[in-house]
Amino acid sequence: MTKTLADCKIGDTVTLTKVLDKQLTIQLYSMGCILGEEITLERIAPFGEPMIIRVEDSFISIRKDDAEKMEINA
């Protein structure tokens, strides 16, 4: 099974390989989070979401259901 961002632990740095939702892809891309980009999972809020990811030097929040749509390569 392919891993998604939602399976990651805090501190993991991974590469984004595929995004399963078109609308989500557009949003992520426009914020500089594109395929092949390195993503670090910085923190997870209580109850498992939202999380903060770091892409280059920007911090971006994202909910769990969206993270589940982001396939990664550890």
Binding site: Q23, Y29, S30, E42, D57, S58, F59, I60, S61
Partner: protein
Amino acid sequence: MEVVEKKEKVRLVLVGNPNSGKSTLFNALTGLNQRIGNFPGVTVEKKIGNLNLSKNKKAEVIDLPGTYSLSPRSEDERVTFEYLTNNNRNDLDEIVVIVADASSLKRNLLLATQLIDLEYPTILVLNMMDIVELNKQSIDVQQLEKELGIPIVPMNARLGKGVDQLKERLANFSYQKVKKIVEKHEEKDPLDNTIERFNWIKKVIAKTVKSEGPAKTAETTKKIDSVFTHSVWGFVIFLFILFLIFQAIFSWSTYPMDWIENGFMVFGNLLAETLPQGVLNDLLVDGVLAGLGGIIIFIPQIALLFMFIAILEDTGYLSRVSYLTDTILKRFGLNGRSIIPLLGGAACAVPAIMSARTIANKKERLLTIFVTPLISCSARIPVYTLLIALIIPAEKQFLGFNLQGVVMMALYLLGFVAALVTAWVMKYWVKSEERSHFIMELPIYRMPRWKNVGMTILNKVKVFLFEAGKIIIAISIILWVLSSYGPGEKMAQVDHKFEQMFSENPHLNKEDYSDQIASEKLEESYAGHIGKFIEPAIRPLGFDWKIGIAVVTSFAAREVFVGTMATLYSVGDEENTESIRGKMAKAINSTTGEKVYTKATGYSLLIFYAFALQCMATVAIVVKETGGWKWPIIQLVYMGALAYFSSLLVFQWFS
């Protein structure tokens, strides 16, 4: 090279990613005071200003909401998109000034390349060069200019560094065709197009940007966040901050408020004595001054409230609160982003409702707009303060805390809880299939700029004074007229009755009866008749006809309540020696002979003002933001019913 003839005036359109410093630059260019804050989505509507570029060249500047791309996902981004794609403006030559945050150039260049390829005449501002320097990065501006093919100006908009250079280059701007960066059509496959753009941008950045390791600002932000967004400490800190704000507004500010109150009393007496007796004297002292004084004493509280909000906005902390509260708010049909309107609602619902534009999901946005007016706004502060002081003795304690403070806090909590519960109910009622996201950039922490904070306070106090002041003066005057004159001979008959009584009983001291005469005359005045007319409807809530008048006038704005009370209780009061609170405390119901402001009436009135939508400005903005009358009417009726029945319950329970 194709050079188009230049006009005397040009239009500059500021476009860029959220939080890149567009409004800061706008202010630096125009000298205006647009709202600035360190979180994405501060500006949500178009703003216009003017400046001189050179001796004979003027410019109009347009500040727009920030956007990440030209495919808008929320209302604020749509404003920018629509402005850019609307081609009906041929009156002036335009230059698109792309404002980029140079400290995260890669992301910021995406929008820049899109705008260049759409053949807008562009100039690029590399803002936040101080951060670039701090992060030990360097940008080869000349090389970047060559790669992009457009003029570039490095900038520190906060300090105004680079503004003159920008003006100079704008004054000498030449409209020429620029080579396309990505030839492929955007519409066909926007995703491929974006990837191609980023590939190009990465190559260019490799050539032009030098950096040593990860950015220092990002590392610092990460450290601060390990405390402020901590699963436990994050919430503790947030509650502590709220408590601190509360403490400051409702306890520290009592000293300056007392000074202002006393000052007004002295001034009123002075005016009453120096001006010749007569109608003008009465109007000024009893009408206008009483109405204004009632509101001016709240300036310290308003100033403190706005100070804290400005500091929170400027540091970047608000985005962290969004992050912390998203899961909770999600359960109530809202979004982490809703916290900005909700907290903003504590200041004023009007800008707060506008800031809901950043919420992309339509249903979440609607729910946020609907519940924001339930948050106690600054206009309720005067009402709460006055009534609480009236019904609760200052020295009374509750579990070791000052009871007045506890009640005040309870009212704020009540508003917040009502907002959440309302949203939760509406969640099931309003249907939507649209998916909801919480994809939001958390900006780096910044020190607040005290000048900006100071200007914000000054502006807000000014608005509070002049906007509220205008309404209050107008209403005070109308009210004074309505309460000084009455239909027919009724008011004269009251005078007559008492004169007769005095002549029949010469030993009576006229002074002792002045209050009674005044109050009987007020009852016979026009205002008295209006109040009497609605009294049956509000009697179950414990309100008498004077309160009825205030409830009616408060529809213009809530703070008018205090002014109305001041005017109603001043008309006919010869001495003018007492504060409104003192006069209200002594008020006696003429039919029952009991005190008007009992605990039951006081609490009932407090609840009424907490819930009722008595604000025309809010109704107007909801009409605008929801695009029709449906929602504001539902809101008005809902909040009215909530206020009425809650007050009814409270009054019956306490009496």
